[in-house]
């Protein structure tokens, strides 16, 4: 027995075991890819690229404290977050109202849906200067531009969600004597929930895009002001730090809505 045991668990070559382990854990391999990319970045930035343009990730991470300590940056992050929150809420509320009023009527749907789709399809970035002229260079123009990016996907998805309810549910509810409000409350709203949360995710994507575009275009107090300052100072360390903070913020916000979508979309399947 004791002599057999080592033969059974004869140690496989280490490389093979490492390979097996990675094959069973794709997430670890993914992490490895990310780490390799960061190492390449680090080496490139330290030895090959002009430090005026690129700065190694190690220095960026160390300097994040520095970025946050820069006069005005925390305030700017707060302003940007506030713009995102307000335009997200406005986009969702307006989109739901529009989507319901368009989706509930067959005729309204057929008449106004093409208009909404047309508006959604136009490159809104071209009218950004008009937003700035109308709403000024403060947060109002960012909020408005964010809303204009976020409201259409919500409208379209909510309208589609309402339209996709099987008519039999509506007919049976009506035949059992449900009032208009009852139908809205107990048939239409529950059926809208999955498309509603999907639309919230798309609204978040749109709002992030709109607000950040407007911020980068012209800004006096938000993040856009500091990105242009750091760019003009040729200070890539702080610029990359600031952009990473924003990217992290965007990832967290996206993830929150995505989780909500997964959670509330589950009940039907």
């Amino acid at each position: 027995m004791t002599t057999l045991a080592p033969a059974v668990t004869a140690p496989k070559p280490l490389t093979l075991r490492v390979r097996r382990w990675f094959l069973r854990h794709p997430a670890a391999a993914r992490l490895g890819v990310v780490v390799i990319l960061f190492v390449i970045w680090e080496i490139a930035a330290r030895f090959f690229v002009d430090p005026n343009f690129l700065s190694p990730p190690s220095r960026v991470i160390v300097s994040i404290d520095d970025v946050l300590a820069t006069q005005g940056v925390p305030q700017a992050l707060r302003v940007t977050f506030y713009e995102l929150a307000v335009s997200f809420v406005l986009a969702v509320v307006l989109g739901v109202i529009l989507g319901l009023s368009i989706g509930l009527g067959r005729f309204a749907h057929r008449s106004f849906m093409p208009i909404i789709l047309l508006l959604y399809g136009t490159p809104q970035i071209t009218i950004l200067p008009i937003f700035v002229l109308l709403f000024g260079i403060g947060p109002a123009s960012k909020i408005a531009f964010g809303v204009s990016h976020g409201v259409f996907p919500v409208t379209i998805l909510v309208a589609a969600g309402v339209q996709n309810i099987k008519p039999i549910y509506l007919v049976s509810a009506r035949s059992m004597g449900a009032s208009r409000w009852h139908i809205l409350r107990h048939v239409i709203f529950p059926h809208m929930i999955p498309s509603f949360f999907t639309s919230m995710r798309l609204a978040m994507t749109g709002v992030l895009l709109g607000v950040l575009l407007a911020e980068l275009y012209v800004s006096t107090a938000g993040i856009g002001y500091f990105t242009s300052v750091f760019t003009q100072d040729f200070d890539p360390t702080k610029l990359i730090g600031l952009v990473s903070i924003l990217a992290a913020m965007a990832v967290v916000l996206n993830e929150v809505v995505r989780r909500a979508e997964l959670h509330y979309g589950r009940w039907r399947s």
């Binding site: 094959l23 794709p26 391999a29 993914r30 890819v33 990310v34 343009f53 690129l54 005729f107 057929r110 008449s111 106004f112 093409p114 208009i115 399809g121 136009t122 490159p123 970035i125 071209t126 009218i127 950004l128 200067p129 008009i130 700035v132 002229l133 109308l134 994507t205 992030l208 895009l209 950040l212 575009l213 980068l216 275009y217 990105t227 242009s228 750091f230 760019t231 040729f234 890539p236 610029l239 990359i240 952009v243 924003l246 990217a247 965007a250 990832v251 996206n254």
Partner: protein, 256 residues
């Protein structure tokens, strides 16, 4: 009588009429507000003047240099992202393991608004076309690579096994099984990539550039030449609509 006639009307034409009415009311409100309203000319130019400017722009051909810059940027960016996206996507899709490793990575980066990195691109590549090309290529790479992975990665196993057992060579396999199965999804990815490339190039021209259609619009806005700016906006929207329609038509053709 009227009810009978209303019913006899095609619902579709009625919808079209509503849409037409919407456009007419909008134009009329614009005209009235600009002509008699108290709205400043700096905010809302007269539509008639905008129309004259639009015709002037088209007739003089002064849009050509800017259009050429924008379209060149778009073409180069789209060529880069298409070749990189499709080749990367194809190689990743060949192994289920690689899909598991790379697909979430690409999807995760795709969820970040990449326009955020525009200041970095401007820092690396300068204010000229290079930064727009790089940004457009980066942004459009992700939908293309994700759809290529989805297209080639989800080919029905029955089809591939059947083709293999009938002795298909690798090339035949690609040409007659994988490509037809994946093409619709890949084409949808290309269309999405094209749209976002166009948007991000016009967007980055608006934010920081030296030439191009987006730059022209900003320039006119800064000079408070509103009628001309509105005309240029209409021009760019028309160009974008035309390009998107052309790409959609190509996609529909390719699907058949």
């Amino acid at each position: 009588m009227t009810a009978g006639r209303a019913k006899g009307w095609n619902d579709r034409t009625l919808s079209r009429l509503v849409q037409l009415g919407f456009a007419v009311v909008l134009l009329l409100a614009w005209y009235l507000a600009a002509t008699w309203g108290q709205v400043s000319h700096l905010l809302l130019p007269n539509p008639v003047e905008v129309w004259h400017q639009f015709i002037g722009i088209l007739a003089s051909g002064e849009f050509l240099p800017d259009l050429r810059v924008t379209l060149t940027e778009l073409a180069v960016a789209f060529a880069i992202s298409t070749s990189l996206g499709i080749s990367t996507g194809y190689f990743v899709s060949r192994s289920p393991y690689a899909i598991k490793v790379f697909e979430p990575l690409f999807a995760g980066i795709f969820s970040i608004p990449i326009i955020l990195f525009l200041p970095l691109y401007v820092l690396f590549f300068g204010l000229g076309p290079a930064s727009k090309i790089a940004l457009g290529a980066t942004i459009s790479f992700f939908p293309i690579v994700l759809n290529t992975i989805a297209g080639f990665g989800n080919v029905d196993r029955v089809l591939t096994t059947a083709a293999r057992s009938m002795g298909a060579s690798n090339l035949q396999m690609f040409r007659h099984v994988l490509l037809p199965a994946a093409l619709p999804v890949v084409l949808a990815g290309l269309r999405m990539g094209f749209t976002v490339a166009l948007l991000s190039i016009i967007g980055s021209e608006t934010i920081a550039s030296l030439a191009g259609l987006g730059h022209r619009i900003v320039n006119l806005a800064e000079n408070m030449d509103m009628a001309r700016m509105f005309a240029y906006i209409a021009f760019v929207v028309a160009i974008a609509a035309f390009l998107n329609a052309a790409v959609s038509a190509l996609e529909a053709r390719g699907r058949r």
